[in-house]
């Protein structure tokens, strides 16, 4: 069984927010929910200042904190190392949100239309998105990036990987030393975010420059 992993190449990423929006479109996430998040950072001081976008997703940790704290068993890890939330089991205690070091999890209480002063009923797209969301996720429960499990099962790449204009995102098998992700991590000094939490993320970043 492959262990799915991600590589986000910070030197290629120019901070366009496409991953964030493409994830929203592909997963029909409601207002305020973004499974892919882009967080701009600045360091140094004028005139030698630096800026960098740091894209975040669920890091699909090999030893996930969220799974440990989950009291209900809603959080599980599949055979590919992808951490999943079962919406039918989750009680929405948000303990996983507190315990996740990577801010990967969010909850939402209701479907709010993006067009606030509209007359109540949803437009065809929002109605479709809402139905999809309710079928696959729901309200009050923890939700997060699942490495586009449905797409991957169909043999496609995750939506954010396909969309990224700079080709800064890669998806593949960490256990296969010859996979693109493994090679990139090896050759380009891939690192995990905040390894001190000991969760062994399956998402690696390549250095900004």
């Amino acid at each position: 069984m492959p262990r799915y992993g991600f590589v986000i190449d910070l030197k290629r990423c120019y901070g366009c927010y496409t991953c964030q929006v493409a994830c929203k479109a592909a997963n029909h996430t409601p207002q305020g929910i973004d499974w892919a998040r882009c967080v701009p950072a600045e360091t140094g001081s004028f005139p030698v200042a630096l800026r960098q976008m740091v894209p975040l997703i669920c890091q699909q940790c090999a030893d996930p904190e969220c799974l440990k704290v989950c009291p209900t068993g809603a959080t599980t890890q599949d055979e590919n190392g992808v951490v999943q939330v079962d919406p039918d089991l989750c009680m929405g205690c948000k303990y996983c949100i507190m315990a996740c070091p990577y801010g990967a999890r969010q909850t939402v209480d209701e479907w709010k239309t993006y067009f606030p002063d509209a007359d109540g009923d949803l437009d065809p797209y929002e109605a479709y998105a809402k139905a999809q969301w309710e079928e696959k996720n729901g309200y009050g429960i923890a939700t997060k990036c699942d490495f586009c499990a449905d797409r991957v099962k169909e043999g496609r790449q995750p939506a954010c990987v396909e969309a990224c204009p700079a080709k800064a995102r890669y998806f593949g098998d960490l256990d296969d030393p010859e996979s693109e992700v493994s090679i990139l991590i090896r050759r380009e000094r891939g690192f995990q975010l905040n390894p001190e939490f000991g969760t062994d993320p399956s998402c690696y970043y390549l250095p900004p420059r």
Partner: protein
């Protein structure tokens, strides 16, 4: 540019109320059980304490339930005791509630017959105290287990919650006892004096707890938030003044007074201290800040927490 670290907002005052009531209930129960060994003058006090245990924890759980996003699944809360402190806590609290309930039942119809079974009651009491301590401490461990939140992730927190739970438990007993006027004057007096010691202890623990925040940036950010930021008014006025200094001073004052005056002072002190206990939970929750993430030289704050 250091990232602007923001506190978590997902655990609201409902959770604070739960942590607080669970602690208070357990603390009151312990007070009650201990009082039962102090002689006949303490029987009323003991009953008050023991009786407070179950309902306070139960109401606390209602608050927690209200905070759940999918409350219909609450019954799954104990499925993963091997790793999750909510699951463990749920078990501890459930056992505690069962024990506390049985304990109360000894005095109630139709179980009054058992009232004579002193041994059984004492056995239940001792078991109950063990689980009460579990309840008091676990509320702290629950938070301490969130590793990315350094403010919580410290062994001082369970200790702090334990001391505060005891203190608020005692004060809850005093509060109820004082409704009976001077009937329980003696024990109230003693409880108040004992409580002043607990308060002093709590002050130390709180001090150590805050002192431990200098090590990592997110904990420093928490301390800043609590001591001088948005949460500071609640901390200084609600916890420090209302919850600790005022009750301590009043308790000391009460020790010099007699009769009704002393009872009134103890009543006010307890009321303040109890509110302080609630505010303490809220302060701790709203001071919870996740560690920044680091990518090379860049640091970012978690969005959306």
């Amino acid at each position: 540019m250091l990232p602007n670290l923001k506190a978590q907002s997902k655990w609201s005052w409902l959770v604070a109320a739960y942590l607080f009531l669970a602690g208070l209930g357990a603390g009151a129960y312990v007070t009650g059980v201990v009082a039962s060994y102090l002689g006949d003058g303490w029987i009323g006090i003991s009953k008050i304490g023991v009786c407070l245990g179950f309902p306070c924890v139960l109401v606390g759980c209602m608050f927690l339930l209200a905070d759940l996003g999918a409350p219909l699944n609450f019954w799954r809360a104990a499925m993963r005791p091997n790793t999750s402190w909510i699951a463990r806590g749920t078990i501890i609290i459930t056992i505690f509630m069962v024990l506390a309930f049985i304990h109360v039942a000894f005095w109630l119809w139709p179980f009054q017959g058992l009232a004579e079974a002193v041994g059984a009651r004492q056995f239940i009491g001792i078991l109950g105290v063990i689980f009460a301590f579990g309840t008091m401490i676990y509320t702290g461990i629950l938070l301490a287990a969130s590793r990315p939140i350094a403010f919580w992730s410290t062994s001082m927190l369970p200790l702090l919650f334990l001391v505060s739970a005891l203190s608020t438990g005692i004060m809850a007993v005093i509060l109820l006892a004082s409704f009976a006027g001077t009937t329980h004057a003696g024990p109230i007096h003693s409880l108040a004096r004992f409580d002043s010691l607990v308060i002093i202890l709590e002050m130390f623990v709180l001090g150590f707890f805050l002192q431990g925040t200098h090590r990592v940036p997110e904990a420093r950010a928490s301390a800043n938030l609590v001591l001088s930021g948005a949460v500071a008014p609640l901390f200084w006025w609600g916890v420090a003044v209302l919850g600790l200094i005022v009750p301590l001073l009043l308790d000391l004052l009460g020790a010099r007074l007699e009769g009704g005056g002393a009872i009134t002072v103890a009543f006010v002190a307890s009321l303040c201290g109890i509110l302080g206990g609630l505010f303490l939970r809220q302060v701790v929750l709203s001071g919870g800040i996740h560690a920044p993430l680091r990518a090379g030289r860049f640091e970012i704050a978690l969005p959306n927490i």
